[in-house]
Subunit: 145 residues, 2 copies
């Protein structure tokens, strides 16, 4: 999660909402690291999780990340949650909960429906304080700007 937090800090320094994500394989080796790049890429789908999943799939030459884990600083939104399912990720570790935009433990709760083809094991609240502080400081600075 520390690498994901670093990626979130990098995103913040680029003016992006500070969210970072890392995909690791079954041995714990890092396959991909990404921060949010929606503004830079003019791409509303360029959330940290999506970029990390796509990069890890490219690295493995597969559209499935069997046995791999995703570590992300914020609870994934419904888009990213569904992508996590499609990629067949084994475990999801996330930092801060997101009552307003989350789609795992809030809102659409993507993994809770009978139609969900694959749900990862979910562990929330990992390094939650660091992740939440990053987000709070980013939005506080934007409100003052």
């Amino acid at each position: 999660m520390s690498r994901a937090l670093d990626a979130a800090r990098d995103a913040s320094s680029r003016g992006e909402v500070p969210v970072g994500a890392v995909v690791t394989d079954a041995a714990g080796t890092i396959l991909a690291v990404a921060g949010n790049r929606t503004r830079e890429l003019n791409d509303p789908t360029a959330h940290a999780e999506m970029l990390a999943i796509r990069a890890a799939c490219t690295a493995l030459g597969s559209e499935r990340l069997i046995g791999c884990d995703l570590h992300v600083t914020l609870e994934p939104c419904p888009m990213c949650a569904a992508a996590i399912g499609f990629a067949r990720l084994e475990r999801l570790y996330y930092g801060a909960p997101d009552p307003k935009g989350g789609g795992v433990d809030h809102g659409a709760r993507v993994f809770s429906h009978a139609t969900c083809h694959h749900a990862p094991q979910v562990y929330g609240g990992i390094a939650e304080t660091d992740a939440a502080t990053l987000l709070r400081d980013f939005f506080a600075a934007r409100r003052q700007a």
Copy 2:
């Protein structure tokens, strides 16, 4: 929708699940056309809608597609539905309903939650028979293969 059906047929000929999508602007001009490319790209996020949204955003140089519409041959999954919301698309026209994988009128029903920031106007069942036939024929052929 006829262009979206063409893109779905193209996807089928590449061995991809036959789904096609088109983004049009407020004047009805086509900004982007895409078919499903998850296998070709080894990318579980490369659904037709995602590719069309990303291409349209690139064409406009914006992460929001204000006043634009999405036409897609199959009810979007939760990932694509959330992306439609992030892109602020005005209207969603879809072909066949998808009780097993859809996330608009089935399953996660992404637009139905209080936490959803933007919901498009949704019109389902557009050219439904053509879209559903394409999918049925594709899966029937695969089962025989």
